[in-house]
Amino acid sequence: MNCPDCDGNINVPADASVGEIVSCPDCGADFEISKKSGSIELKKAETVGEDWGE
């Protein structure tokens, strides 16, 4: 899949599941794998918040 930010090539593993995070090897941006209308897409991952645990 292509990075929504820099159009780099992001490799999404075949066994990856919705909710997993993938990173763009070119620009380093993180994306969450999501499913919309049956198809897989990448959406901007949430940034770490102050209430994020281990």
């Binding site: 949430e46 102050e50 645990g53």
Partner: protein
């Protein structure tokens, strides 16, 4: 065989391992994204299929605890319960409970303004450790060894001004060997 729902906001290796283990034990499992789930005061248990029990696994503490409250409103069993998550996720509540039940714990001082926190420091003396009441990984845990550090840190709190910045949790500094010490209380 029971049906287990794993509620997540970010899938990590742990959630995958939990799902795999549950399936190997013969349980039907499903993963539910907290970020796209909706509730209302009109919601009913039959509107959803959460199965027999929910494992609440959100990385975000606030998201998780509020999601748990919604599930318990629907009478759905959740691990952890709201009470457990609320007590264990808030250092002040945890300290009060430990002390109330005579579990030895470092002396901890609570105040609700910077002014009162300074009075605590003047009375008890340095060093004390300031901790955010909610948070993990030691984030924003700072030893207060002198007045200059206190002035700088309290000024930062005034700027950030989050709701929890108004709660000042000051704790006795524990002398320890140069390694990580963890205590688990059951």
């Amino acid at each position: 065989m029971s049906k287990i729902s794993i509620v997540f906001d970010r899938v990590r290796a742990e959630e995958k391992m939990l799902q795999k283990e549950a399936e190997q034990l013969g349980h039907d499992t499903t993963s539910i994204d907290a970020k796209i789930t909706r509730f209302s005061t009109e919601s009913k248990k039959t509107d959803y299929d959460f199965g027999n029990v929910v494992l609440e696994r959100c990385v975000s503490y606030f998201r998780g605890i509020h999601f748990t409250a919604c599930l318990e409103f629907l009478d759905i069993p959740v691990i952890n319960t709201f009470e457990v998550a609320n007590n264990c996720g808030n250092k002040m509540l945890t300290s009060l409970l430990l002390s109330k039940h005579k579990v030895p714990t470092p002396k901890t001082y609570f105040s609700f303004s910077a002014e009162a926190a300074r009075e605590n420091l003047d009375k008890v003396g340095y060093p004390l450790v300031i901790k955010p009441i909610i948070g993990s990984w030691g984030r924003s845990v700072v030893p207060l060894k002198d007045k200059d550090t206190v002035d700088a840190l309290f000024e930062i709190r005034e700027f950030t001004d989050g709701p929890h910045d108004r709660i000042f949790y000051l704790q006795e500094m524990v002398k320890r060997p140069p390694r990580d010490l963890r205590a688990i209380i059951v």
